[in-house]
Subunit: 129 residues, 4 copies
């Protein structure tokens, strides 16, 4: 499991005084990028080294409590599924011990033409726990 | 069903050359705001007139095909459920006849203190088809 | 002079209850894109047809009055300068008769390698008033 | 001078493959917030403790070289002017030794009603070098 710290800026909030709901998907992206980096597999290496892309096929967020300006959030990321041609990450957004949001993203594995490709073995070995 | 037109700008895209996945939640927001406006119930009236807030409790997007710079997208919005204290909107993002993405948001009905409130009758009458 | 209409969404605002200062640069981008479109020269044609890019070299905004959620803003755009290898757009953001902000962007004319290129004659003819 | 580290995510880039020009204003905001924090004066304390707001009156960016996905940027911030009722921050965005962008923001000092207020003495003492 990787942990990513994010400090909330004004630009993340909206006039309800809380973090705008769409910005959690930005936080998830930063978090899964850190997850790969910890595994020694930077997201941009995936593209240049393995020739595959991992576009998001599905994203979901469940909002439990609001996040506020200047909060230091921690996003915990784990790889929940590693299929033949897809990945599923799960995320938990915390402020201290408070769970603010959960969510997941599903990624397809495709080549430059957008055709489904089997997940590269070298990469799955890296990612498995 | 309401229809909202959105022209994609550079600021919506990312370096994959497609609309960034998080920005669909911005499009959904613009779309449900138009939905309410068509019903004669502007989102900000909900707050000032009815004293309730409709924060997002859940959001989901399924990405089917990429959207590109300068595309004119149409977001179709319908109210799929109108519960005692919650709402569910469903969205379809199209470019011409091509379905690019689908998704939904679930909204709780709360008062200023964040406590669950029954959905105001005057408002539900407006929103029902 | 081109006019672009923008309706402010929650995602554009911050917790001060006004449009976040960085988002005016999004509005400017939408506006200059409309400016070119009116001249029959879409921004993406510039790249594919003329082989030049117009990256922003400088951007400035002067904020005079806040813009609010659900406001319908009008951005007026004019081409203030058309140099040998650069462009300068000027913008005015209005809500009704109220001037909310002014600003400009300066764009270099470069080729794919990022080297300065003379502005294509075919394009400057289109853009001149 | 304060230094703020920012790692570029996909959500910061656009289809030109570089950081979108508007996002530098997000970076500047994170940076000046860190500047105040180092001085023991968090931005949200300014509002709650001193009763003044520091809305942006002017923002400018000069773009010298592009920033890319996954870059670790450093934003250096200094307080360039501290007037009776205004502030001016200057920023430099670096990647290693490369200067990518410079810019400034000017902030007015106003009360809750938006009227110009003299800068609180307790706060200016903190901010002066």
């Amino acid at each position: 499991m990787a942990k990513t710290e994010i400090r909330v800026i004004y630009g993340d909030t909206d006039q309800m005084g809380v973090v705008y709901y769409g910005n959690y998907l930005r936080f998830f992206e930063a978090a899964r990028s850190d997850f790969l980096r910890e595994k020694g597999a930077r997201w941009r290496d995936v593209e240049s080294t393995h020739g595959v892309y991992l576009p998001v096929a599905e994203a979901k967020v469940n909002y439990k409590r609001p996040a506020f300006y200047d909060d230091v959030l921690v996003v915990e990321t784990k790889l929940a599924e590693l299929g033949r041609a897809s990945l599923r990450f799960e995320y938990r957004v915390l402020r201290g011990d408070d769970l603010l949001a959960t969510g997941h993203t599903v990624h397809a594995c495709v080549d430059k033409q957008g055709d489904i490709r089997e997940f590269p073995a070298a990469l799955s070995e890296r990612l498995r726990p």
